[in-house]
Protein backbone atom coordinates (compact mmCIF):
# COMPACT_ATOMS: atom_id res chain seq x y z
CA UNK A 1 0.00 0.00 0.00
CA UNK A 2 1.46 3.30 -1.03
CA UNK A 3 1.68 6.18 1.37
CA UNK A 4 0.16 9.46 0.27
CA UNK A 5 1.64 12.63 1.75
CA UNK A 6 -1.37 14.64 2.83
CA UNK A 7 -0.45 18.33 3.04
CA UNK A 8 -2.29 18.52 6.36
CA UNK A 9 -1.74 15.10 7.98
CA UNK A 10 1.57 13.91 6.58
CA UNK A 11 2.17 10.49 5.01
CA UNK A 12 -0.80 8.17 5.46
CA UNK A 13 -1.80 4.82 3.96
CA UNK A 14 -3.60 5.16 0.65
CA UNK A 15 -6.63 3.30 2.00
CA UNK A 16 -7.51 6.47 3.90
CA UNK A 17 -7.96 8.40 0.68
CA UNK A 18 -10.14 8.50 -2.36
CA UNK A 19 -8.29 9.04 -5.62
CA UNK A 20 -10.49 11.44 -7.54
CA UNK A 21 -8.50 11.28 -10.77
CA UNK A 22 -6.61 13.57 -13.11
CA UNK A 23 -6.91 17.18 -12.07
CA UNK A 24 -8.96 19.13 -14.60
CA UNK A 25 -10.29 22.62 -14.75
CA UNK A 26 -14.01 23.02 -15.21
CA UNK A 27 -15.03 24.94 -18.32
CA UNK A 28 -17.05 28.12 -17.89
CA UNK A 29 -20.62 26.92 -18.05
CA UNK A 30 -21.73 30.13 -19.72
CA UNK A 31 -19.46 29.73 -22.72
CA UNK A 32 -18.67 26.03 -23.03
CA UNK A 33 -19.67 24.06 -26.13
CA UNK A 34 -21.13 20.55 -25.82
CA UNK A 35 -17.88 19.12 -27.21
CA UNK A 36 -15.74 21.01 -24.71
CA UNK A 37 -18.04 20.02 -21.87
CA UNK A 38 -17.95 16.34 -22.78
CA UNK A 39 -14.22 16.46 -23.22
CA UNK A 40 -14.11 17.75 -19.64
CA UNK A 41 -16.47 14.97 -18.54
CA UNK A 42 -14.89 12.03 -20.30
CA UNK A 43 -11.52 12.49 -22.01
CA UNK A 44 -8.41 11.58 -20.06
CA UNK A 45 -4.69 11.89 -20.73
CA UNK A 46 -4.06 8.58 -18.97
CA UNK A 47 -0.30 9.05 -19.15
CA UNK A 48 2.30 6.52 -18.08
CA UNK A 49 4.32 9.32 -16.51
CA UNK A 50 4.15 11.97 -13.81
CA UNK A 51 0.58 13.16 -13.54
CA UNK A 52 -1.22 15.72 -11.40
CA UNK A 53 -4.18 14.22 -9.63
CA UNK A 54 -6.74 15.20 -7.07
CA UNK A 55 -6.98 13.12 -3.88
CA UNK A 56 -9.37 13.42 -0.98
CA UNK A 57 -8.42 12.48 2.58
CA UNK A 58 -11.63 10.69 3.33
CA UNK A 59 -10.60 9.03 6.60
CA UNK A 60 -8.54 11.96 7.81
CA UNK A 61 -8.77 15.73 7.44
CA UNK A 62 -11.39 15.56 4.69
CA UNK A 63 -9.40 17.90 2.51
CA UNK A 64 -8.95 17.73 -1.26
CA UNK A 65 -5.43 18.29 -2.53
CA UNK A 66 -3.24 17.91 -5.58
CA UNK A 67 -0.69 15.11 -5.89
CA UNK A 68 2.07 14.56 -8.41
CA UNK A 69 2.35 10.82 -8.82
CA UNK A 70 4.14 8.62 -11.34
CA UNK A 71 1.64 6.15 -12.73
CA UNK A 72 4.23 3.47 -13.46
CA UNK A 73 6.15 3.43 -10.18
CA UNK A 74 3.39 4.99 -8.02
CA UNK A 75 6.07 7.25 -6.52
CA UNK A 76 4.76 10.59 -5.28
CA UNK A 77 7.04 13.61 -5.57
CA UNK A 78 4.77 16.39 -4.37
CA UNK A 79 1.46 17.16 -2.77
CA UNK A 80 -0.02 20.62 -2.44
CA UNK A 81 -3.24 22.56 -2.03
CA UNK A 82 -5.77 22.43 -4.86
CA UNK A 83 -5.13 24.92 -7.66
CA UNK A 84 -8.14 27.07 -6.74
CA UNK A 85 -6.87 27.47 -3.19
CA UNK A 86 -3.38 28.38 -4.39
CA UNK A 87 -4.87 31.00 -6.73
CA UNK A 88 -6.93 32.39 -3.89
CA UNK A 89 -3.84 32.63 -1.68
CA UNK A 90 -1.93 34.48 -4.40
CA UNK A 91 -4.90 36.75 -4.97
CA UNK A 92 -5.11 37.68 -1.32
CA UNK A 93 -1.37 38.35 -1.31
CA UNK A 94 -0.66 36.07 1.64
Amino acid sequence: MIQVPCPWCGPRNSMEFRAVGESKSRPDVATTTPEQWRQYLYTKSNLADWVTETWYHRAGCRRYFAVERHTVTNDIRESRLPAAQLRQKEGSGS
Partner: protein
Protein backbone atom coordinates in the same frame (compact mmCIF):
# COMPACT_ATOMS: atom_id res chain seq x y z
CA UNK B 1 -14.73 -19.17 -45.44
CA UNK B 2 -11.31 -20.55 -46.13
CA UNK B 3 -10.42 -24.05 -45.04
CA UNK B 4 -6.88 -24.95 -44.18
CA UNK B 5 -5.01 -28.11 -43.37
CA UNK B 6 -2.93 -28.02 -40.25
CA UNK B 7 0.42 -29.76 -40.81
CA UNK B 8 -0.39 -31.84 -37.76
CA UNK B 9 -3.97 -31.96 -36.67
CA UNK B 10 -4.46 -32.25 -32.93
CA UNK B 11 -6.37 -35.38 -31.93
CA UNK B 12 -6.25 -38.30 -29.53
CA UNK B 13 -4.88 -40.41 -32.35
CA UNK B 14 -2.21 -37.82 -33.02
CA UNK B 15 -1.18 -37.91 -29.37
CA UNK B 16 -0.83 -41.68 -29.47
CA UNK B 17 1.11 -41.55 -32.72
CA UNK B 18 3.46 -38.89 -31.41
CA UNK B 19 3.78 -40.80 -28.15
CA UNK B 20 4.76 -44.01 -29.92
CA UNK B 21 7.05 -42.48 -32.49
CA UNK B 22 8.38 -39.85 -30.11
CA UNK B 23 8.07 -37.39 -32.97
CA UNK B 24 7.93 -33.65 -32.53
CA UNK B 25 4.84 -31.55 -33.02
CA UNK B 26 5.25 -28.71 -35.52
CA UNK B 27 5.61 -25.19 -34.23
CA UNK B 28 2.37 -23.75 -32.97
CA UNK B 29 3.24 -20.52 -34.79
CA UNK B 30 6.35 -19.47 -36.68
CA UNK B 31 8.91 -16.71 -36.42
CA UNK B 32 9.35 -14.31 -39.33
CA UNK B 33 11.54 -11.45 -40.43
CA UNK B 34 9.62 -8.19 -40.41
CA UNK B 35 8.47 -7.27 -43.92
CA UNK B 36 8.61 -3.63 -45.10
CA UNK B 37 4.85 -3.46 -45.51
CA UNK B 38 1.61 -5.19 -44.53
CA UNK B 39 -1.99 -4.59 -45.48
CA UNK B 40 -2.98 -4.59 -41.83
CA UNK B 41 -0.89 -4.08 -38.71
CA UNK B 42 -2.50 -5.20 -35.47
CA UNK B 43 -0.89 -3.88 -32.31
CA UNK B 44 -1.22 -6.31 -29.43
CA UNK B 45 -1.04 -10.12 -29.63
CA UNK B 46 -3.76 -10.74 -27.10
CA UNK B 47 -7.04 -12.44 -27.76
CA UNK B 48 -8.53 -9.39 -29.50
CA UNK B 49 -5.61 -8.85 -31.85
CA UNK B 50 -5.16 -12.54 -32.60
CA UNK B 51 -8.86 -13.13 -33.17
CA UNK B 52 -9.02 -10.12 -35.48
CA UNK B 53 -6.16 -11.57 -37.55
CA UNK B 54 -7.71 -15.03 -37.51
CA UNK B 55 -11.08 -13.85 -38.79
CA UNK B 56 -9.47 -11.48 -41.31
CA UNK B 57 -7.77 -14.50 -42.82
CA UNK B 58 -10.50 -17.04 -42.32
CA UNK B 59 -13.60 -15.01 -43.18
CA UNK B 60 -12.19 -12.45 -45.59
CA UNK B 61 -9.05 -13.96 -47.08
CA UNK B 62 -6.91 -11.04 -45.87
CA UNK B 63 -3.62 -12.62 -44.84
CA UNK B 64 -0.95 -9.97 -45.34
CA UNK B 65 -1.33 -9.14 -41.68
CA UNK B 66 1.25 -8.51 -38.96
CA UNK B 67 0.38 -8.86 -35.28
CA UNK B 68 2.93 -7.00 -33.21
CA UNK B 69 3.50 -7.39 -29.50
CA UNK B 70 6.12 -5.82 -27.29
CA UNK B 71 6.10 -8.99 -25.19
CA UNK B 72 4.86 -12.46 -25.96
CA UNK B 73 1.60 -13.95 -27.21
CA UNK B 74 -1.15 -13.58 -24.63
CA UNK B 75 1.12 -11.94 -22.05
CA UNK B 76 -1.17 -9.04 -21.17
CA UNK B 77 -4.73 -9.08 -20.01
CA UNK B 78 -5.49 -12.10 -22.18
CA UNK B 79 -3.26 -14.25 -20.03
CA UNK B 80 -4.00 -12.56 -16.72
CA UNK B 81 -7.77 -12.59 -16.55
CA UNK B 82 -9.94 -15.04 -14.66
CA UNK B 83 -11.31 -16.42 -17.97
CA UNK B 84 -15.00 -16.11 -17.24
CA UNK B 85 -17.36 -16.28 -20.21
CA UNK B 86 -20.99 -15.17 -19.99
CA UNK B 87 -23.62 -13.20 -21.88
CA UNK B 88 -26.02 -12.12 -19.12
CA UNK B 89 -25.54 -8.40 -19.71
CA UNK B 90 -28.06 -5.63 -19.15
CA UNK B 91 -28.72 -4.03 -22.49
CA UNK B 92 -30.11 -5.90 -25.50
CA UNK B 93 -27.13 -4.73 -27.57
CA UNK B 94 -24.73 -5.99 -24.93
CA UNK B 95 -26.55 -9.29 -24.55
CA UNK B 96 -26.59 -9.95 -28.29
CA UNK B 97 -22.94 -9.02 -28.64
CA UNK B 98 -21.73 -11.25 -25.82
CA UNK B 99 -24.08 -14.04 -26.81
CA UNK B 100 -22.37 -14.16 -30.20
CA UNK B 101 -19.11 -14.50 -28.27
CA UNK B 102 -20.49 -17.38 -26.20
CA UNK B 103 -21.65 -19.10 -29.39
CA UNK B 104 -18.21 -18.67 -30.95
CA UNK B 105 -16.59 -20.01 -27.77
CA UNK B 106 -18.87 -23.04 -27.87
CA UNK B 107 -17.56 -23.97 -31.30
CA UNK B 108 -14.05 -22.72 -30.86
CA UNK B 109 -12.27 -25.94 -29.83
CA UNK B 110 -13.43 -27.61 -33.03
CA UNK B 111 -12.95 -24.49 -35.14
CA UNK B 112 -9.38 -23.93 -33.96
CA UNK B 113 -8.53 -27.64 -33.54
CA UNK B 114 -7.30 -26.62 -30.10
CA UNK B 115 -9.10 -27.58 -26.92
CA UNK B 116 -9.92 -24.31 -25.18
CA UNK B 117 -11.62 -26.24 -22.37
CA UNK B 118 -14.81 -24.24 -22.30
CA UNK B 119 -16.50 -25.43 -19.17
CA UNK B 120 -20.09 -24.20 -19.03
CA UNK B 121 -20.44 -24.87 -15.34
CA UNK B 122 -22.98 -22.13 -14.77
CA UNK B 123 -22.57 -18.60 -13.49
CA UNK B 124 -24.13 -17.13 -10.35
CA UNK B 125 -24.26 -13.43 -9.59
CA UNK B 126 -25.30 -13.07 -5.97
CA UNK B 127 -27.62 -10.42 -4.62
CA UNK B 128 -27.25 -9.36 -1.00
CA UNK B 129 -30.05 -6.84 -0.80
CA UNK B 130 -33.28 -5.96 -2.54
CA UNK B 131 -31.72 -3.36 -4.82
CA UNK B 132 -29.12 -5.75 -6.20
CA UNK B 133 -31.81 -8.41 -6.55
CA UNK B 134 -33.78 -5.92 -8.62
CA UNK B 135 -30.77 -5.42 -10.90
CA UNK B 136 -30.45 -9.21 -11.27
CA UNK B 137 -34.12 -9.38 -12.20
CA UNK B 138 -33.59 -6.58 -14.71
CA UNK B 139 -30.75 -8.48 -16.35
CA UNK B 140 -32.70 -11.75 -16.29
CA UNK B 141 -35.72 -10.19 -17.99
CA UNK B 142 -33.64 -8.57 -20.73
CA UNK B 143 -31.71 -11.83 -21.16
CA UNK B 144 -34.88 -13.88 -21.51
CA UNK B 145 -36.24 -11.53 -24.15
CA UNK B 146 -33.01 -12.08 -26.07
CA UNK B 147 -33.32 -15.84 -25.70
CA UNK B 148 -30.52 -16.18 -23.15
CA UNK B 149 -30.77 -18.84 -20.45
CA UNK B 150 -30.76 -16.66 -17.35
CA UNK B 151 -33.06 -16.31 -14.36
CA UNK B 152 -33.26 -15.21 -10.76
CA UNK B 153 -33.07 -18.02 -8.21
CA UNK B 154 -33.45 -18.09 -4.44
CA UNK B 155 -31.15 -19.08 -1.58
CA UNK B 156 -32.29 -22.72 -1.52
CA UNK B 157 -31.43 -23.27 -5.15
CA UNK B 158 -28.13 -21.45 -4.64
CA UNK B 159 -27.32 -23.79 -1.76
CA UNK B 160 -28.01 -26.77 -4.00
CA UNK B 161 -25.67 -25.47 -6.68
CA UNK B 162 -22.97 -24.39 -4.23
CA UNK B 163 -23.23 -26.39 -1.00
CA UNK B 164 -20.33 -24.46 0.56
CA UNK B 165 -22.25 -21.20 0.37
CA UNK B 166 -23.48 -19.73 3.63
CA UNK B 167 -27.09 -18.96 2.73
CA UNK B 168 -28.21 -18.46 6.32
CA UNK B 169 -30.12 -15.28 7.01
CA UNK B 170 -28.24 -13.62 9.79
CA UNK B 171 -24.99 -12.87 8.04
CA UNK B 172 -23.59 -9.42 7.42
CA UNK B 173 -24.25 -9.83 3.70
CA UNK B 174 -27.22 -12.20 3.52
CA UNK B 175 -27.66 -13.93 0.18
CA UNK B 176 -31.17 -13.06 -0.92
CA UNK B 177 -30.98 -14.47 -4.43
CA UNK B 178 -28.84 -14.72 -7.53
CA UNK B 179 -28.89 -14.32 -11.25
CA UNK B 180 -28.25 -17.82 -12.55
CA UNK B 181 -26.84 -18.16 -16.04
CA UNK B 182 -26.25 -21.84 -16.88
CA UNK B 183 -24.28 -21.31 -20.13
CA UNK B 184 -21.71 -19.16 -18.33
CA UNK B 185 -18.42 -20.68 -17.29
CA UNK B 186 -14.71 -20.56 -17.82
CA UNK B 187 -12.27 -21.34 -20.58
CA UNK B 188 -8.53 -21.88 -20.56
CA UNK B 189 -7.39 -18.41 -21.56
CA UNK B 190 -3.94 -19.44 -22.84
CA UNK B 191 -5.51 -22.05 -25.07
CA UNK B 192 -7.74 -19.44 -26.68
CA UNK B 193 -4.76 -17.18 -27.33
CA UNK B 194 -2.60 -19.97 -28.69
CA UNK B 195 -5.39 -21.50 -30.72
CA UNK B 196 -6.11 -18.19 -32.45
CA UNK B 197 -2.39 -17.58 -32.93
CA UNK B 198 -1.94 -21.00 -34.51
CA UNK B 199 -5.00 -20.53 -36.71
CA UNK B 200 -3.87 -17.07 -37.85
CA UNK B 201 -0.32 -18.30 -38.48
CA UNK B 202 -1.34 -21.27 -40.59
CA UNK B 203 -3.44 -18.95 -42.74
CA UNK B 204 -0.47 -16.68 -43.43
CA UNK B 205 -0.73 -13.94 -40.82
CA UNK B 206 2.57 -13.16 -39.10
CA UNK B 207 2.99 -12.98 -35.35
CA UNK B 208 5.88 -10.79 -34.25
CA UNK B 209 6.68 -11.05 -30.56
CA UNK B 210 9.19 -8.73 -28.85
CA UNK B 211 8.25 -6.12 -31.44
CA UNK B 212 7.40 -2.82 -29.85
CA UNK B 213 5.62 -0.03 -31.66
CA UNK B 214 7.56 3.18 -31.09
CA UNK B 215 5.63 5.60 -33.25
CA UNK B 216 2.97 5.74 -35.92
CA UNK B 217 3.44 7.91 -38.98
CA UNK B 218 0.50 9.79 -40.43
CA UNK B 219 0.16 11.96 -43.51
CA UNK B 220 -2.84 14.07 -44.46
CA UNK B 221 -4.81 12.71 -41.56
CA UNK B 222 -4.26 9.04 -42.31
CA UNK B 223 -1.94 6.29 -41.15
CA UNK B 224 0.98 5.51 -43.43
CA UNK B 225 3.47 3.52 -41.36
CA UNK B 226 4.40 2.04 -38.02
CA UNK B 227 7.89 2.32 -36.55
CA UNK B 228 9.03 -0.52 -34.33
CA UNK B 229 12.17 -1.56 -32.50
CA UNK B 230 12.70 -3.99 -35.40
CA UNK B 231 12.15 -1.51 -38.21
CA UNK B 232 9.57 0.47 -40.14
CA UNK B 233 6.41 -1.04 -41.58
CA UNK B 234 4.41 0.76 -44.25
CA UNK B 235 0.70 0.16 -43.83
CA UNK B 236 -2.59 1.94 -44.32
CA UNK B 237 -4.43 0.14 -41.55
CA UNK B 238 -3.42 -0.04 -37.90
CA UNK B 239 -5.64 -1.67 -35.28
CA UNK B 240 -5.02 -0.79 -31.64
CA UNK B 241 -5.78 -3.87 -29.52
CA UNK B 242 -3.58 -3.05 -26.55
CA UNK B 243 -6.08 -2.93 -23.68
CA UNK B 244 -4.45 -1.27 -20.64
CA UNK B 245 -1.79 0.38 -22.80
CA UNK B 246 -4.26 1.67 -25.41
CA UNK B 247 -3.84 5.33 -24.46
CA UNK B 248 -0.10 5.09 -25.11
CA UNK B 249 -0.71 3.90 -28.68
CA UNK B 250 -3.55 6.40 -29.29
CA UNK B 251 -1.32 9.29 -28.40
CA UNK B 252 1.06 8.24 -31.21
CA UNK B 253 -1.58 9.50 -33.65
CA UNK B 254 -2.49 12.44 -31.42
CA UNK B 255 -5.72 11.02 -30.01
CA UNK B 256 -6.95 11.22 -26.41
CA UNK B 257 -9.90 9.10 -25.40
CA UNK B 258 -12.09 8.47 -22.36
CA UNK B 259 -9.80 5.82 -20.91
CA UNK B 260 -8.25 5.37 -17.49
CA UNK B 261 -5.88 2.49 -16.86
CA UNK B 262 -6.42 0.68 -13.59
CA UNK B 263 -4.70 -2.50 -12.39
CA UNK B 264 -7.03 -5.42 -11.83
CA UNK B 265 -5.72 -8.06 -9.49
CA UNK B 266 -6.36 -11.75 -9.38
CA UNK B 267 -5.14 -14.63 -7.27
CA UNK B 268 -5.19 -18.41 -7.00
CA UNK B 269 -5.14 -20.75 -4.06
CA UNK B 270 -3.41 -24.05 -3.66
CA UNK B 271 -5.43 -26.89 -5.13
CA UNK B 272 -7.96 -28.86 -3.14
CA UNK B 273 -10.37 -31.50 -4.29
CA UNK B 274 -13.18 -30.11 -6.40
CA UNK B 275 -16.07 -28.66 -4.40
CA UNK B 276 -17.21 -25.63 -6.39
CA UNK B 277 -19.05 -26.31 -9.62
CA UNK B 278 -20.12 -22.83 -10.63
CA UNK B 279 -18.64 -19.41 -11.17
CA UNK B 280 -19.74 -17.30 -8.21
CA UNK B 281 -19.78 -13.53 -8.40
CA UNK B 282 -20.73 -11.02 -5.76
CA UNK B 283 -20.77 -7.45 -6.96
CA UNK B 284 -21.45 -6.05 -3.49
CA UNK B 285 -18.49 -7.93 -2.07
CA UNK B 286 -16.29 -7.26 -5.10
CA UNK B 287 -15.28 -10.87 -5.60
CA UNK B 288 -15.58 -13.57 -8.19
CA UNK B 289 -14.44 -17.13 -7.75
CA UNK B 290 -14.34 -20.38 -9.67
CA UNK B 291 -12.45 -23.64 -9.24
CA UNK B 292 -10.25 -25.00 -11.99
CA UNK B 293 -10.01 -28.63 -13.02
CA UNK B 294 -6.67 -28.63 -11.22
CA UNK B 295 -8.47 -27.80 -8.00
CA UNK B 296 -7.27 -24.22 -7.53
CA UNK B 297 -9.70 -21.46 -6.67
CA UNK B 298 -9.27 -18.53 -9.01
CA UNK B 299 -10.26 -15.17 -7.57
CA UNK B 300 -10.79 -11.77 -9.02
CA UNK B 301 -12.00 -8.50 -7.54
CA UNK B 302 -12.70 -4.96 -8.59
CA UNK B 303 -10.02 -2.75 -10.09
CA UNK B 304 -7.53 -0.92 -7.91
CA UNK B 305 -8.82 2.40 -6.59
CA UNK B 306 -6.32 4.61 -8.41
CA UNK B 307 -5.04 4.77 -11.96
CA UNK B 308 -1.73 3.01 -12.50
CA UNK B 309 0.36 1.13 -15.00
CA UNK B 310 1.96 -0.88 -12.21
CA UNK B 311 1.40 -4.62 -12.33
CA UNK B 312 2.67 -5.23 -8.83
CA UNK B 313 0.06 -6.76 -6.60
CA UNK B 314 -1.13 -5.19 -3.39
CA UNK B 315 -1.67 -6.74 0.01
CA UNK B 316 -4.96 -5.02 0.70
CA UNK B 317 -6.42 -6.65 -2.39
CA UNK B 318 -5.76 -10.10 -0.98
CA UNK B 319 -7.03 -9.10 2.45
CA UNK B 320 -10.34 -7.79 1.17
CA UNK B 321 -10.71 -10.65 -1.22
CA UNK B 322 -10.14 -13.30 1.43
CA UNK B 323 -12.42 -11.58 3.91
CA UNK B 324 -15.21 -11.44 1.39
CA UNK B 325 -14.74 -14.97 0.10
CA UNK B 326 -15.00 -16.20 3.68
CA UNK B 327 -18.22 -14.23 4.14
CA UNK B 328 -19.60 -16.38 1.35
CA UNK B 329 -17.89 -19.70 2.13
CA UNK B 330 -16.65 -19.70 5.74
CA UNK B 331 -15.54 -23.34 5.55
CA UNK B 332 -12.47 -22.67 3.43
CA UNK B 333 -10.54 -20.45 5.86
CA UNK B 334 -7.65 -22.91 5.98
CA UNK B 335 -7.10 -22.92 2.23
CA UNK B 336 -4.03 -20.96 1.27
CA UNK B 337 -3.54 -18.22 -1.26
CA UNK B 338 -0.73 -19.27 -3.56
CA UNK B 339 -0.11 -16.43 -5.98
CA UNK B 340 -1.44 -13.02 -6.86
CA UNK B 341 -0.90 -11.00 -9.99
CA UNK B 342 -2.27 -7.98 -11.79
CA UNK B 343 -3.28 -6.98 -15.28
CA UNK B 344 -4.11 -3.58 -16.71
CA UNK B 345 -7.62 -2.53 -17.62
CA UNK B 346 -8.57 0.45 -19.75
CA UNK B 347 -11.79 1.59 -18.14
CA UNK B 348 -14.36 3.73 -19.96
CA UNK B 349 -17.05 5.88 -18.32
CA UNK B 350 -19.90 3.61 -19.47
CA UNK B 351 -18.36 0.18 -18.90
CA UNK B 352 -18.43 -0.49 -22.62
CA UNK B 353 -15.63 -0.73 -25.18
CA UNK B 354 -14.54 1.72 -27.85
CA UNK B 355 -14.56 -0.05 -31.20
CA UNK B 356 -14.19 1.03 -34.79
CA UNK B 357 -13.00 4.04 -36.69
CA UNK B 358 -11.36 7.16 -35.29
CA UNK B 359 -10.78 10.67 -36.62
CA UNK B 360 -7.43 9.41 -37.99
CA UNK B 361 -8.13 7.48 -41.16
CA UNK B 362 -6.76 3.97 -41.08
CA UNK B 363 -6.36 4.01 -37.31
CA UNK B 364 -8.91 1.64 -35.83
CA UNK B 365 -9.45 0.81 -32.20
CA UNK B 366 -10.71 -2.20 -30.29
CA UNK B 367 -10.08 -0.93 -26.77
CA UNK B 368 -11.72 0.25 -23.58
CA UNK B 369 -12.33 -3.32 -22.58
CA UNK B 370 -12.03 -2.70 -18.90
CA UNK B 371 -12.56 -5.89 -16.96
CA UNK B 372 -14.62 -7.78 -19.54
CA UNK B 373 -12.35 -7.98 -22.58
CA UNK B 374 -11.56 -11.64 -22.57
CA UNK B 375 -15.12 -12.87 -22.86
CA UNK B 376 -15.60 -10.62 -25.89
CA UNK B 377 -12.45 -11.71 -27.73
CA UNK B 378 -14.01 -13.90 -30.41
CA UNK B 379 -16.89 -11.61 -31.36
CA UNK B 380 -14.66 -8.55 -31.29
CA UNK B 381 -12.18 -10.21 -33.63
CA UNK B 382 -14.97 -11.25 -35.95
CA UNK B 383 -16.53 -7.77 -36.00
CA UNK B 384 -13.26 -5.86 -36.34
CA UNK B 385 -12.23 -8.15 -39.20
CA UNK B 386 -15.50 -7.42 -40.92
CA UNK B 387 -15.01 -3.68 -40.46
CA UNK B 388 -11.48 -3.83 -41.89
CA UNK B 389 -12.50 -6.03 -44.81
CA UNK B 390 -15.67 -4.20 -45.79
CA UNK B 391 -14.99 -0.67 -44.63
CA UNK B 392 -18.43 -0.68 -42.99
CA UNK B 393 -19.02 -0.79 -39.24
CA UNK B 394 -21.00 -3.95 -38.41
CA UNK B 395 -24.34 -3.42 -36.71
CA UNK B 396 -23.33 -5.21 -33.52
CA UNK B 397 -20.55 -2.75 -32.64
CA UNK B 398 -22.16 0.50 -33.78
CA UNK B 399 -23.17 1.38 -30.22
CA UNK B 400 -19.54 1.18 -29.13
CA UNK B 401 -18.24 3.94 -31.40
CA UNK B 402 -15.87 6.63 -30.19
CA UNK B 403 -18.26 9.39 -31.29
CA UNK B 404 -20.76 8.45 -28.59
CA UNK B 405 -18.81 10.47 -26.04
CA UNK B 406 -18.80 13.88 -27.78
CA UNK B 407 -22.37 13.16 -28.87
CA UNK B 408 -23.54 12.14 -25.39
CA UNK B 409 -24.83 8.67 -26.28
CA UNK B 410 -23.33 6.57 -23.51
CA UNK B 411 -24.09 2.86 -23.48
CA UNK B 412 -26.70 1.55 -21.06
CA UNK B 413 -24.40 -0.86 -19.22
CA UNK B 414 -23.65 2.21 -17.09
CA UNK B 415 -27.21 1.91 -15.87
CA UNK B 416 -26.66 -1.30 -13.98
CA UNK B 417 -23.19 -0.40 -12.83
CA UNK B 418 -24.52 2.69 -11.11
CA UNK B 419 -27.54 1.03 -9.51
CA UNK B 420 -25.74 -0.48 -6.50
CA UNK B 421 -24.48 -3.97 -7.35
Amino acid sequence: MSKVRYPAKYSALGLIKHGLMKGDWPQVWRHHELKPSYDVVIVGAGVHGLATAYYLAKNHGITNVAILDKGYVGGGGSGRNTSIVRSNYLTPEGVRFYDRSVKLYEGLSADLNFNIMFSQMGHLTLAHNDSSLRTMRWRAEVNKLEGIDSDVIGPDEIKKLVPYMDTSENTRYPIVGALYHPPGGTVRHDAVNWGYARGADIRGCEIHQQTEVQSIETADGRVVAVDTNRGRIATRTVVNCTAGWASLINVMVGLKMPLVTHPLQAAVTEPVKKFLNAVVVSGSLHVYVSQTDRGELVFGASTDPYASYSMRGSLEFTEELAGHVLELMPGIAKMRLLRQWAGLCDMTPDFSPIMGITPVEGFLVDIGWGTYGFKAGPVSGESMAQLIATGTTPENIKAFDLARFPEGRLVGEKGAAAVGH
